[in-house]
Symmetry: C2
Amino acid sequence: MSRAPLREPDTADLADLDQQVGYVLRRAQLAVFADFIAGQTGVVATPGQFAVLAVVGRNPGLSQSRLCELLGIKRANLVAVIDHLESLDLVRRDPSVTDRRSNRLQLTAAGDRALKRAIEDEARHEARVTRLLGAGGRAALLKQLAKLCELDSSRSFP
Amino acid sequence: MSRAPLREPDTADLADLDQQVGYVLRRAQLAVFADFIAGQTGVVATPGQFAVLAVVGRNPGLSQSRLCELLGIKRANLVAVIDHLESLDLVRRDPSVTDRRSNRLQLTAAGDRALKRAIEDEARHEARVTRLLGAGGRAALLKQLAKLCELDSSRSFP
DNA sequence: CGGATAATGTTATGATCCATAACAAACTAA
DNA sequence: TTAGTTTGTTATGGATCATAACATTATCCG
């Protein structure tokens, strides 16, 4: 049996973790999210809030259920997000007239302004990313990441 | 002002979120982690536990502080992880004789077996990823993700 | 040496994000 | 109408992240 060094190693050994997609993915995501957040100058505080504002802004009257499907989150977890955005007067829950269970989400005027500003900040963030990767590298990355998302649904018993 | 559709849209519009690195990164990470977890057949339950076991296994006698530096996590957040692994008898905290503040982390025999098994499961997971991306695509992805991690430290006030 | 300073592990606490289960109200379909 | 489903919600718990504070111990330096 080979005995590894018993002393406190002064050379860091990540045990090939940096060759595993999941691990590097996690580190990269934290770095990118941190840069995104640091670059936001308005009320938008998190990538999650940004995503909700962006999709509601593009799809006025969207229900919470459909928004959840789009974003890949659970209905139960959206409630607090909308609660918060509503308390900031960025989003409204208008009751649907055709289906009294569901709400039609709308941006308020303030929400519209906040979204526009957040999009500008996001563009600068994205430019920083592109400066690191190159335009081609960024496009390639997006394509690979999109493929990885397929790991999700294909999981069943064969 | 352009008025977007007020009806419940039947065509999903992600508002270009899928063209933003941070968003796709998040979705991909969730998918990859889910696949990793689904593929683990032993006691290892999360990528975090796997990372700790792997690094401790490769660096016996490592202190908690150095482990935290390697993994990029905070000392305070490692405590519960080690507590848990110790309660499963996978890891031991041996007091250091040269520095009575710090612990020397070691895998137990059970920890060693659990790590070996987790590594085998991880290899199958990684093979699934490679089947999706191709070997070259996977290597290119790792390189781009590593670049993204640089966003982290370079953030200061200019 | 001794006193300031720094590092280590820990506790406490809070935020974010994800997941499940249960439920009332409302819709849909047989 | 009855049975089943969908919608938004509450409650709850787990995993990770962050900060601040603290006792113990090391280290640095005059």
